[in-house]
C-alpha cells in the first residue's frame, strides 16, 4: 500500500540521510524500523508525509504519488497519514479535547476550527477514541497536566481521529518508562489491527520491537541492511545494523518472552 522507490535525502549541510531506499509496506502490516541514532529513521518517516522534503525518489500511498504534491492536495494526503511523536508533541496549552480534535483540522474550514465548532460526528468520534484510550475523564484537562503515558495516548487518539490509512510512529516510547512503553506499543498495535492500518514504527528498543511487530527493517547510514521477521534478527544481523557488541541478551530475552 505504501511504496518507496529509490528515496534519497541529502540535507543542505551535505549530510546524506537516506540513499536510495526501496521499501513496500502492505495494508495492515506493522513494521518496526530500527537502527542507530542518525541512521535516518526520523528522516525516513518525515519524508513520507513531507515534513522533510525528499531530494529524489518517489513515494506512493495507495495509488497517489506523494512527492510531487503541493498545497491543498498535499494536505489531503497528510490527512491519510497519522503521525505519533517521540515527545508526544501535543499542543501543551490546549485541552485534551482540542488536541484530539486537531486531528480533524484537515477536514474542517479555518473558521470552524478557529471557533472550535467541529461537526458533532467529529466530537462523538473524539469521545469514542478518548474512551478507547481510557482518557474520557480528562477531556477538558490541559495537555500539560497529563503524565507521559497519558499524553502519548492523546497523541494516538489525535492520529487516529484523522481516519488514516497509515500510521507514522516516531520513537513512541523513548520518553516513557518500561511498563508504559509496553502498554503504548500494545495499544498502537491493537489499534492497527482493529482498523487494518499499516504502520511504520521507529524504535530504539530492539527487544520491545521484536515482541510486538510482524516485520523489522534495519537502517544503517541511510541504507536498508536488514528486512525480515523478528526471529530472523540474529546476532550477525544486529552487528550489521549497530556494529560490534555482545548481542546474546537481546536475542535470548526475546526467546524467554516468547
Amino acid at each position: 500500500m505504501l511504496q518507496l522507490k529509490k528515496l534519497s535525502k541529502i540535507y543542505k549541510t551535505g549530510d546524506k540521510a537516506l540513499s536510495a531506499v526501496d521499501l513496500t509496506v502492505p495494508q495492515g502490516q506493522v513494521m518496526a524500523l530500527i537502527g542507530p541514532s542518525g541512521a535516518g529513521k526520523s528522516t525516513l518517516i518525515r519524508c513520507i508525509n513531507r515534513l522533510v522534503e525528499p531530494t529524489s525518489g518517489s513515494i506512493t500511498l495507495g495509488d497517489v504519488e506523494i512527492t510531487s504534491l503541493k498545497g491543498n492536495s498535499l494536505r489531503q494526503q497528510r490527512r491519510r497519514m497519522g503521525m505519533i511523536f517521540q515527545e508526544y508533541a501535543l499542543v501543551e496549552r490546549l485541552t485534551v479535547m482540542e488536541n484530539v480534535l486537531s486531528g480533524r483540522l484537515g477536514y474542517v474550514s479555518f473558521v470552524r476550527s478557529f471557533l472550535r465548532k467541529f461537526p458533532q460526528k467529529d466530537i462523538d468520534e473524539a469521545f469514542r477514541l478518548l474512551d478507547r484510550v481510557e482518557l474520557l475523564d480528562m477531556t477538558d484537562k490541559r495537555a500539560d497536566e497529563l503524565s507521559g503515558g497519558q499524553r502519548q495516548r492523546v497523541g494516538i487518539a489525535r492520529a487516529l481521529i484523522q481516519d488514516p490509512a497509515l500510521l507514522l510512529v516516531d520513537e513512541p516510547t523513548a520518553s516513557l518508562d518500561p511498563k508504559t512503553s509496553r502498554q503504548i506499543m500494545r495499544l498502537i498495535c491493537e489499534m492497527c489491527e482493529e482498523r487494518k492500518l499499516a504502520a511504520i514504527v521507529n524504535i530504539h528498543d530492539v527487544v520491545l520491537a521484536k515482541s510486538f511487530v510482524q516485520r523489522i527493517v534495519g537502517l544503517e547510514q541511510g541504507r536498508i541492511v536488514f528486512d525480515g521477521k523478528p526471529d530472523d534478527l540474529t546476532e550477525k544481523e544486529l552487528t550489521k545494523i549497530y556494529g560490534e557488541e555482545d548481542w546474546e541478551d537481546t536475542i535470548k530475552k526475546d526467546e524467554s518472552l516468547a
Binding site: 508525509n49 515534513l51 494536505r75 489531503q76 494526503q77 497528510r78 490527512r79 497519514m81 497519522g82 503521525m83 511523536f85 517521540q86 515527545e87 508533541a89 501535543l90 499542543v91 501543551e92 496549552r93 490546549l94 482540542e98 486537531s102 486531528g103 480533524r104 483540522l105 484537515g106 477536514y107 479555518f110 476550527s113 478557529f114 497523541g155 489525535r158 484523522q162 507514522l168
Partner: protein
C-alpha cells in the same frame, strides 16, 4: 586552564598569559574611556553651581514642602487622560505589533528576503526613539493634546512589543507545529493551533509589562504638550510653583505604585 612548568614544579593557572593580558587590557581600555568621558563632562560643568547645589536643593525642598494639597482637585482629569494614553496606546501598539512580529520571526515570515527586513526596520526605528521624541514629533504634526500622546505611546511600543513577541515566536517548540502540520492542517490552522497557544502567555506578559512602562512614560508626555499630567508639571515648573511640583510628583509616584500592583496582580492571574 593551563599548567606551566616552573623549576620542575607544575604550576596551575586559570588562564594562559595571553588571555590574562587581554583581560587586563580591556579593563585598562574601559577605565581610559571612563576617565575621558568624565573629563568631558566636568569640562562643561559649572562647578560653582555644583558646590552650591546643597543650598539650592535645600531651598527648593523648603519651598516644595508641604505639597499644595488643594491643587489635587485639578489633577483628576489629567490623571484620567494619562491612564487613557497609556491603555489605549498599548492596545494600539499591540494591534500593530502582532502582524509585525509574525512577519519578523524567522519561522513564520512569509519572505526572509523582503518582508522580514521591512518588519525589522519598523521594529528598530520605532523602539530606538523615545516616546517623548515621538510625542514632540506628533505634537508638531497633529497639534498638542491627548491624541498626539496616545499615538506617540502607540508607535513607540510597536517595536518593543513586536521584538519580544517575535523572539517568543522563534522560541516555540517546533515539534508541536510539526504535529499540527502532519494532520493536514492549512497554514492558518497551523498558526492558530500550533503557534498561537504557545505564545499566548508571552503575549499577555508583554501586554501587561508594556502597559506598566507606558503609564510611567505617559506621565511626562505633557512636558512637550502631548496631554496628561505632565502638562500640569510643566506649568508648575515654569511658574516655579514648587509646592505644586511636589504634589504632582507624589501623585505620579502613587500612580506608578498602583500600576505596578495592578500589573503584578494581572500577571499572577494569567500565569
Amino acid at each position: 586552564m593551563v599548567v606551566l612548568k616552573k623549576n620542575d614544579l607544575k604550576v596551575w593557572q586559570r588562564r594562559d598569559r595571553k588571555a590574562q593580558f587581554k583581560i587586563w587590557a580591556s579593563w585598562l581600555f574601559g577605565a581610559a574611556i571612563f576617565m575621558w568621558s568624565w573629563q568631558q563632562i566636568s569640562e562643561v560643568t559649572t562647578w560653582f553651581f555644583v558646590w552650591d547645589a546643597p543650598r539650592i536643593a535645600a531651598d527648593i525642598g523648603s519651598r516644595a514642602m508641604p505639597p499644595r494639597w488643594e491643587y489635587l482637585s485639578t489633577l483628576w482629569r489629567p490623571l484620567w487622560d494619562t491612564l487613557n494614553i497609556a491603555t489605549l496606546g498599548t492596545v494600539l501598539a499591540l494591534l500593530m505589533a502582532v502582524p509585525i512580529a509574525f512577519m519578523a520571526a524567522r519561522n513564520t515570515t512569509p519572505s526572509t528576503l523582503f518582508v522580514r527586513p521591512f518588519a525589522l526596520l519598523v521594529i528598530v526605528s520605532t523602539r530606538s526613539i523615545n516616546s517623548l521624541i515621538w510625542a514632540l514629533l506628533l505634537v508638531a504634526i497633529i497639534g498638542p493634546g491627548v491624541f498626539a500622546g496616545l499615538i506617540a505611546i502607540g508607535i513607540r511600543s510597536i517595536g518593543f512589543c513586536a521584538k519580544l513577541l517575535y523572539e517568543a515566536i522563534e522560541e516555540i517548540d517546533y515539534t508541536q507545529v510539526e504535529a499540527i502540520t502532519a494532520t493536514g492542517a492549512s497554514r492558518w490552522q497551523v498558526m492558530t493551533y500550533g503557534i498561537v497557544p504557545q505564545i499566548m502567555p508571552a503575549f499577555a506578559g508583554i501586554a501587561i509589562f508594556r502597559w506598566d512602562i507606558n503609564l510611567r512614560e505617559s506621565t511626562v508626555l505633557g512636558l512637550v504638550g502631548a496631554g496628561g499630567i505632565g502638562l500640569q508639571l510643566q506649568g508648575s515648573l515654569n511658574t516655579l510653583a514648587w509646592s505644586q511640583v511636589s504634589l504632582i510628583l507624589v501623585v505620579i509616584l502613587a500612580a506608578v505604585v498602583v500600576s505596578e500592583a495592578v500589573s503584578a496582580k494581572a500577571r499572577g492571574a494569567i500565569i
